[in-house]
Every structure is written in C-alpha cells, then in structure tokens.
C-alpha cells in the first residue's frame, strides 16, 4: 500500500506543477484582457466626450444657452453629483460657466490705463480674499513681462521697461513667445507672474486669454458673489467708469435679484437690445438711467460669449474629465424676442484627461 501511495504522491506532485503553470498562464491572459478592455474603454470614453460636447452645442443652438444652462427645464434638472446614464456610460458634474467677466491677459498694458488699473485691482482682490499680503510683488513688473512676452519685437517693453526679453536665467530657461497667448497656463512660465504665487484656482477664477479683450458681465449667468467682485473691480477707475463706485449698491441690488424660480439672476430681455431690457427698465424706474455712462452700461450683457464646459464621464471603474472652452456668436435679436440664440461656436480648447 505504501508503494501505491508513493505513485499517487508523485502523480499528484506532477499535477500540482502543471496546475501552477496553468494558473500563471491564466494570470497573464487575464492581465492581457484587462489591458485590452482598458484601452477600448478609454477610446470609447474619448469618443463619447466629443459627442457630448457636440450635443451640448447643438442644444444651445436649438434651445438657447440660458435655457439649457440655467432654466428649470435644463441642466438644473440634474442633481449635483448624480451620475446620469448615457448608453453604457454615465455623465456627472456638468458645469457650464461664463468666462466673459474675467480679465483677458492678452491686453496690452499701458501706464494708468483702465486695463492696468483693473489688473492691479484684480490682484488686490485676490490677496484680500485670502487675507495674505503679497510679498514684494510689483504689478508693473508683471505687466511688463506680459507685454514683453507677447509683443512682436525683441526690445524691452516701451511702457514698463522692466527686465529683458530673454529669460535664460529661469529654470527651465525659455525665450519669450513674441506672439499672443494661446493657453492660459502659458502665463505660468513668466517668472514675474509666477512670483505672484497664484494657485491654479485663483488663476482660472480671475483670468483668461481667449475670447474678446473686453470684460463683460453676463448677468444671467453670474452668481451674486461674481457680480459683487466685478463691480468692485470696475469701480473707482475714473473716466469713463466714474459713476460705478457711487452706483455700486443699487446696481448690486438690481443685478442680484432672483427670478421667481429662485435661480441665478435672470433678466428676460438681453442687454443687446437697448431700451428694451429689464435691466434698463429697472435703472429707469430708480432714476439711475441718466447717471450711468454708455461705457458702464456696456459692461453688462445678457448673453455669454465665452463659456467653460466641464463634465465627467464614467464607464465601469474608469472616468474621464472633460474641459472645453467655447466661444459663441449670436445673431441680432429680433425685437420682442427673448434672449438671442447662439448661431455659431468656436472651440478654443478641449481637454480630455
């Protein structure tokens, strides 16, 4: 019996070795399969991201930007954080914000100009919000660097002659671009700008490099705190914005009023149709219309030109975040109609990461 036991033991040992080898092979195959499915899912999510952006732009054109982004029947229907099924995948955290009120760093800065003052006030408000002082930051030096980086020549800036055009001492060393910014994050390569110590959020919340040079506040999209910050930035600048400081309180009151559904500030008529907007009617009713300049009225708009669309896609355990910067163009609004609808769109940036 003992000898038969030995034969059994040997057979079992061989079977064990075979099983181990088989298991190893299965592991390799399982890994291969997971790798393959991950690549496939990534590809599908990228395609889906593009489809969602295309769908949103189409929705803005058909239904209107405000109707989709802020109305009760639009994206407001989706509860925050919820993953909405989208075929085999899901979508969550859709956020669409207007960037029109942010300061465009493509501006060419001149001493004592409105743009220079607004830039200075923006920096002051950033530091005030976090209750820390800036250490040795000279806004003129930053404006000089911004001008130098973008102007086409190799001479020091004519308005703010700080520093040289080359930055070989920076790490990594770089040459100035001699062309306007393409992407906001480019400003981070400027040593003078980096010294401001802004976080990514502060940078994105206050500055842009795409869209129109002028800042406009889309009162239908702006949150009350954004309205207050905007009015702060643009008051006390002198001509042609001499009235804003005095009218700050009533303007904030008018612009912050909510519609009957309790959403963000909403005016039924856009400001592009002069003499017809609820905003102007409110100003008129309060006797303020004659006290505000045309340039000041131009700061307020009823439509968004530059919008940032963000959302997250989910498929199984994988997620992809999408960030798109879109500039809209609008047709002239017909009298008596509501907000004009976006007729064209240009994608400035699209990141799927």
């Amino acid at each position: 019996m003992k000898r038969r036991g030995m034969a059994l033991l040997m057979t079992l040992t061989i079977l064990l070795v075979l099983s181990l080898a088989l298991t190893k092979s299965f592991e390799d195959r399982a890994l291969e399969q997971r790798h393959l499915s991950a690549s496939l899912a990534q590809f599908q999510l990228e395609n889906l991201a593009r489809s969602v952006v295309r769908g949103l732009i189409q929705a803005f054109r058909v239904h209107g930007f405000w109707e989709v982004t802020r109305s009760k029947q639009g994206l407001a229907l989706i509860p925050a954080g919820a993953v909405v099924p989208l075929g085999e995948a899901g979508i969550s955290d859709i956020s669409i914000t207007s960037l029109d009120h942010l300061f465009n760093l493509k501006n060419r800065f001149k001493p004592l100009s409105v743009q220079a003052k607004v830039f200075d006030k923006t920096l002051t408000s950033i530091y005030a919000a976090r209750q820390t002082q800036s250490f040795g930051v000279n806004p003129e030096e930053v404006m000089s660097a911004l001008n130098d980086f973008q102007d086409p020549d190799s001479d020091p800036d004519e308005y703010f002659p700080y520093g040289a055009e080359q930055y070989p001492q920076a790490h990594p060393a770089f040459k100035v671009k001699n062309a306007p910014f393409d992407l906001l994050s480019e400003v981070k390569v400027l040593p003078a700008f980096a010294l401001l110590g802004l976080s990514q959020k502060e940078l994105e919340d206050h500055f842009r490099v795409s869209g129109p040079l002028e800042s406009r506040l889309d009162v239908n999209m702006a949150k009350p705190e954004e309205i207050a910050a905007f009015l702060d930035q643009w008051s006390g600048l002198g001509e042609p914005y001499q009235n804003l400081e005095r009218l700050k309180a009533p303007l904030l009151e008018i612009l912050s009023q909510k519609d009957k559904n309790g959403f963000q500030p909403f005016f039924d008529e856009p400001f592009v149709s002069r003499g017809n907007s609820v905003f102007e009617q409110e100003l008129e009713a309060r006797g303020l219309m004659g006290q505000i300049s045309a340039a000041e009225l131009d700061l307020f708009s009823g439509v968004t030109k530059l919008a940032l669309i963000r959302f997250t896609l989910h498929q199984g355990p994988r997620t992809k975040r999408v960030r798109v910067l879109v500039e809209f163009s609008y047709a002239i609004k017909l009298p008596g109609k509501r907000l004009p609808k976006a007729t064209g769109a240009v994608i400035h940036e699209m990141q799927i990461y």
Binding site: L18, D28, V53, H171, F174, V189, S199, I347, I352
Partner: protein, 223 residues
C-alpha cells in the same frame, strides 16, 4: 513459507508503466511549458507594445495647434501642433514625431506642480547608440524654447529597445494620406500609427491604430 512482495516481472511491468506514464506526463509538461514560455514572451511583447501605444496615443490626443505661436513675429511661420518626418533606416520605417501637447508633463520636475505650464514639446524618435544599440526615445521639453524638433531643457527617456519600426500616416483635410506632416495649417484629421516590436527570439508583434484628432471636434473647430 512464501514471503510477501513483488516478483521481478511485476516490478518490471510496474516500472515500465510508471516510466511510460511519467514520460507522457513530463513530455506534456515540457510541451506545455514551452508553449507557456512562448505565450508569455508574446504577451510581454504585446504589453510593451500596448504601453508604447497608450503613451503615444495620450500625447497625440492632447496635441494642440497653437495658432498664435505658429503665426510668430514679423511674418515668421513656426511649426506647431504636429511635425513629423517620414524616415527609413536599413529598410525599416523609423519615422520621427514632434508635437506640442496640452497636458501636464509626464516627467516635469521644473517648478512646483502649481506652476506646471501644461504645455510641452514631446518627441518620439529612434537613435542608435554604439554601446546600447537601437533605442526608441521620448523627449519632453518645456515648449517655449525654440524650434519644435530641437533641444532646450529636455527630459529624455528610452522607452524601448525592442521597437524596430514606427510608421506614421497622416490624413489631411481632404482625407488624403500623407507620410510627413509639416506642423503648419493645423492638426491633421487623423493619424495612423504602426508599431513593430521584435523579441529576442525573433518573434515580432505589430500594433496598428488610428486616432481621430479632429473628427469634426476639438480645438479650432467651428460650428
């Protein structure tokens, strides 16, 4: 009195049977092990190929054509987006690819993370070194440092010693295949990438994939 035990014949038959079964089992085992080893090599080749594929795919997907950068100063036109050269070496396709990528640098260490400019110059190319032989390299550089396909402060990694071919085909606005891409006039509609990896035992694996860079969507697209 007869003592218990096996006769010589029984022992011989048992040993012969045991030997035959063991030979069969061992033969099967070695055959299986050989197959397993071949499969394992193939899988490792495929995995290396797929890792290369995902890195190239990630960079190509994030490629960005910088209109303002391309315009440059005083009429000068600078290559931007994707710059690729169709090159052959000893009968092998060894194309070069240079691109501007709008994403966080994969190996960026220059500044604190908050100052990562999310804009890099990336190159893929083959180089033969007398000591180490043929290698496939990836270069990542701070983008504003001059021409798209040249030096500056760069981090270079050898990605593979076994990649023997990279063949790129670009599709222009008319969807016509092009072997080179000049870095002018925007990104191509799509790019077809063919990678060939050769193992030490002579087995080779080829990966072939197409990426739609602007399938009617992406930066610069107008509606």
């Amino acid at each position: 009195m007869r003592r218990g035990g096996f006769t010589l014949i029984e022992l011989l038959i048992s040993l012969t049977l045991f030997g035959a079964v063991t030979a069969l089992l061992l033969g099967g085992y070695f055959q299986f092990q050989g197959q397993s080893s071949r499969m394992s090599k193939t899988i490792h080749l495929r995995q290396e190929l797929r890792n290369l594929e995902s890195l190239i795919r990630a960079d190509l997907t994030e490629a960005v054509y910088l209109e303002n950068y391309a315009k440059g100063a005083e009429g000068e036109i600078r290559p931007s987006g994707i710059l690729a050269m169709d090159l052959m070496e000893g009968g092998f396709n060894r194309d070069q690819l240079h691109l501007q990528v709008h994403s966080r640098g994969q190996f960026f260490t220059g500044f604190k993370l908050a100052y990562n400019p999310e804009l890099f110059e990336v190159s893929y190319y083959f180089e033969t070194n007398p000591q180490t032989g043929l290698g496939f390299y990836r270069r990542e550089a701070y983008f504003i440092d001059g021409p798209l396909d040249e030096g500056g402060d760069a981090i270079v990694h050898q990605l593979s010693k076994r990649l023997t071919q990279m063949n790129l085909t670009f599709f222009d606005d008319q969807n016509q295949p092009q072997k080179d891409w000049p870095g002018k006039g925007g990104l191509p509609l799509g790019v077809e990438v063919e990678l060939t990896l050769e193992g030490e035992d002579g087995t080779s694996q080829t990966s072939h994939f197409v990426i739609n860079l602007r399938p009617a969507m992406g930066p610069g697209v107008r509606f």
